[in-house]
């Protein structure tokens, strides 16, 4: 692993740690998914990839705090699967987290787009 790749991997871990709850809640928005589906969905994107060992305990915690509910469903002769969906409390939490996220992105973008000496002029 080159130095740059290592730096990126570290940043990925750090950023994901902070955004994981938001990501999982967002992935369950308007959907009911079981663990494997949810994992497959998150692994489609480069920055939201996670492991089974991270996802399942997180789902357990979100369920305990009441943000999501779980239900075992068996269709036909398939294996029973545990499906997750957002509760009203989870939907509310998602809206708080996502509002903050959406505020944070343009703030950081603004800083990135405005290098230079004048800190004063920053706040227009």
């Amino acid at each position: 692993m080159t130095e740059i790749e290592e730096l990126e991997a570290k940043w990925h871990v750090q950023l994901r740690k902070g955004t994981l709850e938001l990501v999982v809640l967002a992935a369950l928005q308007g959907r009911t998914l079981y663990g494997l589906e949810l994992l497959g969905l998150l692994n489609q994107f480069e920055t939201t990839k996670i492991t089974e060992g991270t996802l399942y305990p997180l789902l357990d915690r979100l369920k305990k705090e009441g943000s999501i509910t779980a239900q075992w469903v068996q269709e036909g002769d398939t294996r029973p699967r545990k499906y997750y969906s957002l509760t009203p409390a989870g939907t509310k939490k998602l809206s708080v987290l996502s509002a903050h996220w959406r505020k944070s992105v343009p703030d950081i973008e603004y800083l990135l787009a405005h290098p230079g000496k004048d800190a004063e002029k920053f706040k227009e």
Partner: protein
């Protein structure tokens, strides 16, 4: 080891580390992970691929680490004392008899020493620690005729010494009993 054996071993180990959870919760965790593993295998098969089970299990991480992520919330605010698991394993060997004998012996000797200190204050002449005339043994307690004995070893120093020693033993007994009660309870 076949895939099925490897999966079973993993789940059994995980189950053991989840023992701190209520049985119902632990079962639920195991059931879900088992369902995930076999679903993933089926899914790969449907695509005509062969899923590497050891790779999949690596995604879940070592059973112990995974179990800790489920049980950590139970320890919030009340971390177990170090050596917790060792205590649990001897738990059933601690009998009520041990509790009561500790109580009697500990409090008995603690209070006796404190009592001795007060008695020395009330009656300095007849209470004390003496060497016997031959110097071969030590007598602790009250005597009718202390003059026949050897030297009073501590004199009035017996009062603070016995008080401190008695309090320490009492305090120690109290802590010990609390631990015993928790283990046996």
């Amino acid at each position: 080891m076949s895939d099925r054996e490897r999966i079973n071993t993993y789940l059994q180990t995980l189950n053991r580390y989840l023992s701190r959870l209520p049985a119902e919760d632990a079962n639920e965790v195991i059931r879900e992970i088992e369902s995930h593993i076999y679903d993933a295998i089926d899914l790969a098969e449907a695509k005509g691929e062969k899923l590497e089970v050891s790779e999949l299990l690596k995604g879940f991480g070592p059973p112990r680490t995974l179990a800790e992520k489920y049980t950590n919330h139970m320890l919030d605010g009340t971390p177990p004392p170090s050596g917790f698991s060792a205590i649990t394993s001897i738990k059933h060997k601690v009998t009520k008899g041990m509790y009561w004998s500790t109580l009697l012996l500990g409090y008995g000797s603690g209070f006796a020493l404190i009592l001795l200190a007060f008695m020395k204050l009330l009656s300095p002449e007849t209470v004390g620690i003496w060497t016997s005339p031959g110097g071969e043994s030590v007598i602790v307690g009250t005597l009718d005729a202390p003059a026949e004995q050897g030297d009073d070893l501590l004199g009035l120093w017996l009062v603070p010494t016995a008080l401190i020693l008695g309090s320490l033993i009492t305090r120690f007994t109290y802590s010990l009993l609390r631990i015993l009660k928790r283990i046996a309870g």
